[in-house]
């Protein structure tokens, strides 16, 4: 059973990431905060007595549902965004990711960038992540930021593991392409 301290520590460790993920999805700071508030309330009220180890996956699910509910309630999912996602998801050619991602182990290290340059790069990466089609972004963030495995991601997203892998590789190549277009090599 999670103590108040364990739940508090868990929420403190996850709240910034949760806020960012909500922000990427809804593109509005105050709505993103409402979503995080709702998710925290739900997990505390309904699952606050679960063991601490169960909290991360529970919270991930609750947060994704809260984001989903927000779109459903606000009915703001503008048509052209949906069409665009559909097009990029179904019809883009699966270019070989290795072509786009660039060479490994480049000589440029982070210390050669100034802090300002690094902040700019981070901001651009965030912008491009926010521009990803919803399913691709969701799969990418759940796998690579929330550290869920393919099976867990598939369960949260309600799709097959194969779809998860496809979404992830498409998200990666879309990001790589976009960053290259903005002059950034990671």
């Amino acid at each position: 059973m999670a103590t108040r301290e364990e739940l508090s520590e868990f929420l403190a460790s996850v709240e910034r990431r949760a806020y960012k993920q909500a922000l990427f999805a809804v593109r509005d700071e105050s709505h993103a905060l409402d979503i995080v508030q709702e998710a925290m309330m739900k997990i505390a009220e309904n699952y606050g007595d679960r063991p601490a180890a169960e909290l991360p996956l529970l919270f991930t699910r609750i947060l994704q549902n809260a984001i989903h509910d927000f779109f459903r309630r606000s009915k703001v999912r503008s048509t052209w965004v949906t069409l665009f996602s559909a097009l990029t998801d179904e019809n883009e050619p699966d270019a070989d990711p290795l072509d786009i991602l660039g060479p490994t182990g480049d000589a440029r290290t982070e210390s050669s960038e100034t802090r300002y340059e690094r902040e700019q790069i981070v901001a651009i990466i965030e912008e491009e992540v926010a521009k990803l089609p919803a399913r691709q972004r969701q799969a990418f963030l759940l796998r690579y930021w929330e550290d869920l495995d393919t099976a867990e991601t598939a369960a949260v997203m309600g799709c097959s593991e194969g779809s998860v892998k496809t979404h992830c590789s498409r998200a990666t190549s879309a990001l790589a392409r976009a960053l290259k277009g903005r002059g950034i090599t990671l």
Partner: protein, 164 residues
């Protein structure tokens, strides 16, 4: 009980049976008294620690209450000390925010505090925009309208109570 088999240093002198029984029933009485004393101790309330008995960290956290601290009941003091424990984890803005409201909150009547807790919980089921809208509406109301609303809420609450 014969203790003859024990090595000499540990051997106890033989005790006549009546004395043994008397001693053991005395021990029982003492144990019972101790247990009862613990019960009463747990039930009894001192008035809690005085302000100058708090640690520097506690005094820093609860600084706005320094004036009224010694007048607070023991349970309230315990509650505030719990709050003081969580205070260090806050951001600087959080700390400033909390301290700005502490003195006012402590000065509310118990009934007002209970209402505040109730209203807060209700407010937090709403998105921030709706919370803020409710606050603006409330602050725009004239005094007599506020009293009217308060009366109506009190009557509604009283009507709901028998059903509980």
């Amino acid at each position: 009980m014969k203790a003859g088999w024990l090595p000499q240093p540990f051997a106890m002198p033989a005790v006549p049976p009546q004395a043994a029984r008397a001693r053991s029933s005395r021990r029982r009485a003492l144990l019972a008294a101790a247990a009862l004393a613990w019960c009463f101790g747990a039930l009894a309330q001192g008035s809690g620690p005085a302000w100058n008995q708090l640690t520097p960290q506690q005094r820093e956290a609860l600084a706005p209450l320094s004036g009224q601290w010694n007048t607070l009941p023991a349970d309230n003091k315990r509650k505030w000390l719990e709050i003081a424990e969580k205070y260090p984890q806050l951001s600087p803005e959080g700390k400033a925010h909390m301290q700005a409201r502490m003195a006012e909150f402590a000065r509310l009547t118990p009934e007002q505090r209970a209402t505040a807790r109730e209203n807060f919980q209700r407010a937090y089921t709403l998105p921030r925009e709706n919370r803020e809208s409710a606050v603006q509406q409330f602050q725009a109301l004239p005094e007599d309208k506020k009293k009217e609303l308060a009366e109506r809420q009190r009557r509604d609450a009283a009507k709901a109570a028998p059903a509980r």
